[in-house]
Amino acid sequence: MAHTNDHYYVPHGSHWPIVASVALTVGVVGAANWFNGNASGQAILYLGLAMVAFMMFGWFGTVINESLKGMYNEQVDRSFRQGMMWFIFSEVMFFAAFFGALFYARVLSVPWLLGEDLSTHQTLWSAFGENWPTNGPGNVGGDFQTIGAWGIPAINTLLLLTSGVTITLSHWALKANDKGKTVLWLIATVALGSVFLGFQAYEYVHAYSDLNLTLESGIYGSTFFMLTGFHGMHVTLGTIMLIVITIRAAKGHFSPEQHFAFEGVAWYWHFVDVVWLGLFIFVYVL
């Protein structure tokens, strides 16, 4: 065993990356055709997504097997950790673009349209007088109402914050080598995440059917749905990741010393948590 660990493990040829490239390409070709109104687009998109799922099973499966065989030494583990952290950083920057759009609209462009910049106001839309939340001088998408912060969104905040605690409890249990509690707290985290998603879905239905708040409700609807929507997608992904590591924890894949996958998922979960706090403050409260 000692022998397997003294070298950095460099895998040999792998066909998963090329499967991944093809899968992504099929997916985006499908999506592009769908956007262009071609009947076959949706089917091709789903085919691509199925290929992505297949690839993920295969690729991660290979990595898990290698990990269980003890082929990864501490240095490999560090590579995974650092890689995950930089990946999360890139995700933060992706959200930053949409938060940037929100701030820009609220702090600069909407006030300019309103008259803070006189010439813009006068030459473009002199009749415009509606501050945030707004769907713009064109009343794009029609009159709408917004979702108050202190109903479901506040509950959702509590849910996610609590899930941050439960995953930490699970981590502590893992470090204490208590498999039962590890799995239990993980299940609690998955449950909290799922309830969050349920509420979020309910809220979307409510927005669309009762409030006339849609993706097309001008800049308010655009920023609201793109931010909460991408966040929701990330929570969904995080929940799936949590389910995977719950199963793996139950199978005894993790030891108190070696459990990168667990920690990677936990970091990711904290990341979606923090993004939500930003959303709660800047999209709902303020």
Binding site: H7, V10, S79, I219
Partner: protein, 526 residues
């Protein structure tokens, strides 16, 4: 037990698999580096062909060769292909080949992801180029894709957007791999401040990429939803603002231009000391200068938007911040020149390209400073002066550094010396023609010729003729580059391990060509 033997085998040195699948499934940093470099070379000629169309159309006033829509798609796709398809993959290829050898690592930190990063690229660019065959043609709104113009594209629009997403995913993964390799895979004794500058500049470049590519992804995603999902990010009617796109884009775009030049700084910092036979002057100031350029590059983006209508405070802030970048950039040029000062210099092809880089990149830096002066930029903006500026920093800057690097490390990669006579000829023809091509564009711009226009007023004719002639000569002479590379791959005088008398660094301790796996046992760095 059986698993133990299986893994045992994995550690033995062995050659690559055979046939095409070697390249498709490879996880070896040298193979992947080669793939990146070849891909970049192909894209260099694809983008170059488009440049030839542009120069043919501009050879004479009036509409001569292509229709205006197609002309605009030529300028747009030329830029996208050269930036994302040629220069960035070439630098990533160099990083793949060199960084593990320079820091004494067995391979890149995440070898499977490395393969993924490369193999997305051919798909991404097939998508991009396929838009030419769709209703409405290729993208024609300029590589910056400003709305509302870019939203008027035909069926190709979503394909172009997804191509950018895929290329972005590729660079983010490639960069994560590079950062992790540098931070986690250095041989014992290879402290950060002992790393070759190429490694340092790539570390900082990769950081810039991870920070800004997702922002570009966000910007083009908003374009996509504005077109297809009814959002109003960039439409004033809905309370959005087309100028907002420009801010988000250039928040990515300006760091991107440094992404295109920082690795070049690293290359020049490797080559100049070798041929001056002196250690690099001011190593640590080079590191700090690189870091400050990276930092400053995040707070200067609106110098691309001086004429768009910004509050005066904004104009002033971005003007002064931009000018500040000239300071660390000047530090670098000063250090290269000081390295050469009183050196025992020889001028083999890599050195010629490096010296050419220093001189002509500096010309581009100075025109950049002129553009940085907001009131002056009101005149220069969107003229050929800008085109001249960025071609000096990109062609005689980034591309020259890539050529210098190719000549410098080709003997190490292939084990054969390239043809020195042809290399020198390639340099001189390129350097004369590239100046004939781009220098007159300064005059055209100052005289008021707008960029991205297929036709022009007759008083601009003379310099356009000159520029086009320079362009054709430069374009054709790049075939020499391919020929020299092919020749060196196929044979030639055997290179020694050291290759260059004055070269210093771990990669020169390896055989030429290096075995398929190197540094499986980490070297001790003193």
């Amino acid at each position: 037990m059986s698993t133990a033997t299986a893994t045992h085998d994995d550690h033995h040195d062995h050659g690559p698999a055979k046939g095409l699948m070697r390249w498709v499934t490879t996880t070896n940093h040298k193979d992947i580096g080669t793939l990146y470099l070849l891909f970049a070379l192909v894209m260099f000629f694809v983008g170059g062909a488009m440049a030839m169309v542009i120069r043919a159309e501009l050879f004479q006033p009036g509409l001569q060769v292509v229709d205006p829509q197609f002309f605009n798609s030529m300028t747009t796709v030329h830029a996208l292909v050269m930036i994302f398809g040629a220069v960035m993959p070439a630098f990533t290829g160099l990083a793949n080949w060199l960084i593990p050898m320079m820091i004494g690592a067995p391979d890149m930190a995440l070898p499977r992801m490395n393969n993924f990063s490369f193999w997305i690229l051919p798909f991404a660019f097939s998508l991009l180029l396929s838009t030419f065959f769709m209703a409405g043609g290729g993208p024609a709104a300029g590589w910056t894709l400003y709305p509302p113009l870019s939203l008027q594209m035909g069926d190709g629009f979503p394909f172009m957007i997804f191509a950018i997403h895929l290329a972005g995913i590729s660079s983010i993964m490639g960069s994560i791999n590079i950062v992790v390799t540098i931070l986690n895979m250095r041989a014992p004794g290879m402290t950060l401040m002992k790393m070759p500058l190429f490694v340092w500049t790539w570390l900082i470049t990769a950081y810039l990429l991870i920070a800004t590519m997702p922002v570009l992804a966000g910007a083009v995603t908003m374009l996509l939803t504005d077109k297809f999902a009814g959002t109003s990010f960039f439409s004033a009617a809905g309370g959005g603002d087309p100028v907002m796109y420009q801010h988000i884009f250039w928040f990515f775009g300006h760091p991107e231009v440094y992404i295109l030049i920082l690795p070049a700084f690293g290359i020049i910092s490797a080559i100049v000391p070798t041929f001056a036979r002196k250690p690099l002057f001011g190593y640590s100031s080079m590191v700090y200068a690189t870091a400050s350029i990276a930092f400053l590059s995040f707070i200067v983006w609106a110098h691309h938007m001086f004429t768009v209508g910004m509050p005066v405070v904004g104009e002033l802030f971005f003007m002064y911040a931009t000018m500040m970048i000239a300071v660390p950039t000047g530090v670098k040029v000063f250090n290269w020149v000081s390295t050469m000062w009183k050196g025992a210099m020889t001028f083999e092809t890599p050195m010629l390209f490096a010296v050419g880089f220093i001189m002509m990149f500096t010309i581009g830096g100075f025109s950049g400073l002129m553009l940085a002066i907001a009131p002056a930029d009101f005149q220069y903006h969107d003229t050929y002066f800008v085109v001249a500026h960025f071609h000096y920093v990109l062609v005689t800057g980034a591309i020259y550094s890539i050529m210098a690097a190719t000549y410098y490390w080709l003997p190490k990669w292939t084990g054969n010396m390239y043809d020195e006579k042809l290399g020198k000829l390639h340099f001189w023809i390129s350097t004369v023609s590239v100046n004939v091509l781009f220098f007159p564009q300064h005059f055209l711009g100052l005289a008021g010729m707008p960029r991205r226009i297929p036709d022009y007023s007759v008083q601009f004719t003379d310099w356009n003729v000159v520029s086009s002639i320079g362009g054709f000569v430069f374009g054709v002479s790049q075939l020499m580059f391919v020929w020299i590379i092919v020749k060196a791959i196929r044979g030639g005088e055997k290179a020694s391990d050291q290759v260059w008398e004055g070269a210093d660094g771990l990669e020169w301790t390896l055989p030429s060509p290096p075995p398929y796996h190197t540094f499986t046992e980490a070297p001790q760095v003193k």
